[in-house]
Symmetry: C2
Subunit: 349 residues, 2 copies
DNA sequence: AATAAATCCGTGCCCCTGCACGGATTTTGA
DNA sequence: TCAAAATCCGTGCAGGGGCACGGATTTATT
């Protein structure tokens, strides 16, 4: 079962390889009659280009720019980096090179600056993650102008659907938390504290959808109450403690804790100090400290956003376009992994 | 940042490409002095062979034989096939070809027959899954004699550790079920029926380990009891029903159901008919019917063995050896996915 | 010392595609 | 009718590595 090559096509159509090549790439300068004959041969013999030979022949470098928040500043953003490192060896033989552009996740302007820097380097493709809506729009505009293949991860910027997106279905993750609370809480009345740490549900679409998903699970049920809390200075354990104490005095029988982003680790010590580690605690993401609190029992469930896998998939998607010029679905959702003490080790690499 | 090529090495060591090639492949016929100089150059310039060019030059076909139970007869075995289909496009450019050998999962001799057929075809690598211990040993012996790279999935045959294995950590999956029962069951006494359908814990290591894992979770706790049940004619709903009725009369307060393999779908209708669908029901694997029972609420949790991913990883592992001659870890465990109604769609492709 | 043998190493072709150059043929224009 | 232009198409090289063949040099043999 030998492969069909350009040479075979040429022989079959009684022309030279060069002519076949011109037809294959629509480069014109071919007589209609000949073109038809070649197209026939392509059809008949079932020609598939040999990507290996093509890559070798082209011998060009594909620069993928990675525009994400600085992993040095926030442990969370180390994970996409891990994912990228994991897949790169597979592709560097194809001439794929990654150039990181890390911006400060607390300064919107930093995104714009880094984006400018990135564009100067003329990347062939872009992998981007940003929570700054307005600044992202500018970047996406420029991307659209330059027609650079781009994949967004983690956060969906829904300005247009022309960009590939890989992320988690936030709504479903909320609904999933709903069921986990439902089976875990034995009290008749399920009162759940929802914590937005250093973020607001109004500003962040992801968080909003998680909460909508959570309440949708309990839709039409009277044995359930959601209490939303926002804490900005989330790194101050004392402040969190007093906030919780206050909430406990105004609401009785709190039975669940839901942290809507990866910052569970800031809430957990406060709960431990208050002797509240028996509450059903659901959070997101496998940061080292989160995992520790999962192992010691303070946190019951972590929902894994799989940032490493998101980045991995995104790179693969871009390589698919650049190297193999395959098209694929524009939006993909990573699986919603439920992580508990017993299976956490599977998800850590 | 151009790649270092053989030509560069040749130039650096003042010899020709052919000589460098002989050194690279230990083909001898090179003077010691020259060899040292070339090795120095390799070290100094950091030469990495270009897999793309090599693949093109060798232009040979790699036949991977897939020796698994017939997917036509058992829905479960369709999934590994799906996984293989998913990754193959990525590798067929590298000349990788898959040849399936499906045996009858109810006749041990069928495995031996298909294995013979397989060996006749002289595969370059083998992906194998079998629950027949004795017959597998014969096949593995022959593999060892022929020194064919091989990866086992699903079931570990521990004759020797010379084979790669990809599978689930059965012990952990049992322990995981333990926690899920623990949080879900609100009764003080947790009595769990453990069903081995069409299999015995004595014969099947996987099942044994799942049960050991489950009881290890509750180790030292008095509020827990395990009742193991074996049913051979599991396709007979009436028989299952009478068995359960019998169990309910001899044991009170049954609160959990654990099916140790993928055959939950045969137990679920019996439970429904007996009005027992409120019990916490944990099973394995995303067969279509299992998923339906998860969606209608009879089954509460499914633990995904991820047969598709196992096969996918196995193919990748073999390709890594054949094409890229990379070595990698010999045993790998797939993640233990907890699947509920809310996230099941992520795990179905 | 002359020939045979052994050792070492360089050259050229192959794999397949992409692309530039230029040759060959046909068409256009005066 | 003949040169100029336009159109069409073949050849050759590059890209990196594998491998066979055979040339060149050194070593062994009588």
């Amino acid at each position: 079962m030998k492969r069909v090559t350009i040479k075979d096509l040429a022989q079959h159509a009684q022309v030279s390889r060069g002519t076949v090549d011109r037809v294959l790439h629509n480069r014109g300068h071919v007589a209609d009659e000949v073109r038809l004959k070649i197209n026939e041969a392509i059809e008949e013999l079932g020609y598939k280009p040999n990507i290996i030979a093509r890559t070798l022949a082209q011998n060009n470098e594909y620069k993928i720019a990675v525009l994400i928040p600085d992993p040095e500043a926030d442990e969370f953003w180390e994970q996409p980096n891990e994912g990228i490192k994991r897949v790169m060896p597979e592709f560097e033989d194809f001439g794929v090179v990654v150039e990181p552009f890390h911006f400060n996740n607390e300064e919107p302007k930093s995104l714009s600056d880094k984006a400018k820097e990135m564009f100067k380097r003329n990347p062939d493709a872009i992998l981007m993650a940003s929570e700054f809506y307005k600044e992202s729009l500018y970047v996406l505009d420029e991307i659209e102008r330059r027609k650079i293949p781009t994949t967004l991860i983690m956060t969906h910027i829904d300005s247009s659907n022309e960009f590939n997106y890989i992320g988690q279905d936030s709504f479903k993750s909320g609904a999933m938390a709903g069921r986990l609370f439902d089976v875990s809480i034995s009290q008749d009345m399920k009162r759940i504290l929802v914590f937005n740490l250093g973020a607001t549900s109004a500003n962040t679409l992801q968080i909003k959808n998680k909460i909508i998903g959570l309440s949708s699970y309990f839709d039409g049920r009277a044995d359930f109450e959601l209490i939303e809390v926002e804490i900005q200075n989330f790194k101050n354990t004392a402040a969190i403690k007093s906030k919780i104490t206050e909430l406990l005095s105004t609401h009785e029988d709190i039975s669940g804790i839901f942290v809507t982003n990866s910052r569970s680790k800031y809430l957990a010590p406060a709960l431990e100090e208050l002797g509240l580690d028996h509450l059903c605690f659901i959070g997101f993401d496998l940061l080292q400290d989160n995992v520790d609190y999962l192992l010691n029992g303070t946190i019951d469930f972590l929902i894994n956003q799989n940032p490493a896998k998101q980045a991995e998939w995104a790179i693969k998607k871009l390589v698919d376009q650049l190297v193999f010029n395959r098209k694929n679905k524009s939006t993909e959702y990573v699986p919603l992994d439920i992580v508990i003490k017993e299976n956490v080790s599977c998800y850590l690499h």
